[in-house]
């Protein structure tokens, strides 16, 4: 494959779920992943979280740090934590409807580096428009093979994971 190319490595879709696991998405073939998430939410005030999955595709429940900047119309807040069981609020939808998100995940398959994530999401409901930018890190060097997105009722969710060939 061409160097620098985006290569689709995994597509996952589901409907009427409260969480979605993307297993075995990360391999030794890539160090950097570009992830696109699109979907709809039916629950109000959805604050969607993300956890990484370990080498057994089990959710990792400690060791997260993150800092975001959430812009709700023109009001800023800055969700952040230096010790959490998850990366909170990767997507915020005030009153349930359409969202889209892009993530970059760095070094997930490495056994010697932390796994980092950078994100940019946009959502809209009848109540408000929200825009989120930020990032986080899983402060363990254990291998990560996937991730789970949860804490809302998704009427549908589509996830495409691309590897960037280096």
């Amino acid at each position: 494959m061409s160097i620098g190319q985006l290569e689709l490595v995994k597509s996952v879709s589901d409907t009427s779920v409260t969480s979605i696991d993307v297993t075995d998405a990360f391999t030794a073939s890539y160090n950097l992943y570009h992830i696109i998430v699109q979907g709809h939410i039916t629950t109000t005030n959805s604050l969607i979280d993300l956890r990484f999955l370990d080498s057994s595709n089990t959710a990792i429940t400690s060791g997260y740090r993150y800092g975001h900047r959430l812009l709700e119309l023109t009001t800023n807040t800055e969700p952040q934590s230096t010790s959490d069981t998850t990366i909170q609020k990767i997507i915020v939808v005030n009153n349930g409807d359409t969202f889209a998100a892009r993530f970059f995940v760095y070094n997930p398959f490495s056994n010697s580096d932390y796994t980092h994530i950078a994100l940019h999401t946009q959502a809209f409901s009848s109540a408000n428009i929200t825009n989120m930018r930020g990032g986080g890190v899983l402060t363990t060097t254990a291998q990560v093979k996937g991730f789970t997105i949860y804490d809302a009722t998704f009427s549908n969710i589509d996830i495409d994971v691309y590897g960037i060939k280096d």
């Binding site: 689709l8 709700e72 800023n76 409807d97 946009q122 809209f124």
Partner: protein
């Protein structure tokens, strides 16, 4: 471009020339032609150039009228040297349904303009265009990218995320927007904003990410 059915490839005599399902033996030239006709699968994940527009100076709008909205879930728009002949302004995006521009109060946007020490949030939940933080400033053109999601999905709003760099002082911007009509979008109109007219340097390129 005309359908390439049975024009390219050999073995078998009628190879399959359908995006995502090519079978048969093709010469390199066949592949190039089928790529141009959006009938070649290639490697999934490629950015595929749909169209580049260089508006003529004093044009007030640039229209992408063929966006392959049923082929691509995600589009990517690059903006280089954005400017206009009137003054400082933010780039606007509007969408077309069935080839007809929707200029109703169906758009929302928000963004932050970032400089060395401050941020300036701007937004609207109900307006007639998606205003972006890709803008020109006095003596300096604007640069940025727009990711567009779900344009062809008739059961979804169309969503955008925007990043930019602009100004002689190195300002940046981040934001996004939503076209909150659940319909299939089949065209994109870009304007310099404020009903201004483009300069002679603006270059707009629209890509799709192939997943099928």
């Amino acid at each position: 471009m005309a359908n390439k059915s049975n024009e390219y490839g050999f073995v078998p005599s009628s190879p399959t020339q359908a995006r995502g399902a090519n079978t048969g033996v093709f010469e390199v030239n066949d592949v190039i032609d089928l790529l141009a006709a959006s009938q070649w699968s290639g490697t999934f994940g490629n950015l595929e150039l749909i169209q580049t527009i260089t508006p003529a100076v004093h044009d007030t709008e640039a229209d992408f009228d063929t966006i392959y909205e049923s082929t691509y879930d995600t589009h990517f728009l690059t903006v280089c040297n954005l400017g206009n002949v009137n003054g400082q302004s933010e780039m606007w995006i509007r969408f077309k349904e069935g080839g007809v521009l929707n200029s109703g109060t169906n758009y929302a946007y928000n963004y932050e303009l970032l400089n060395q020490t401050n941020n300036t949030p701007v937004g609207s939940n109900a307006t007639t265009y998606m205003r972006t933080i890709i803008r020109n400033e006095t003596g300096s053109n604007g640069y940025g990218v727009v990711w567009l999601y779900g344009l062809g999905n008739s059961s979804s709003y169309s969503v955008a995320t925007v990043h930019s760099g602009l100004g002689a002082q190195g300002h940046g911007g981040q934001g996004g927007g939503t076209f909150y009509v659940k319909s299939a979008v089949n065209g994109i109109r870009i304007t310099p904003g404020n009903n201004y007219a483009f300069n002679a340097e603006t270059v707009l390129s629209l890509y799709g990410i192939n997943t099928v």
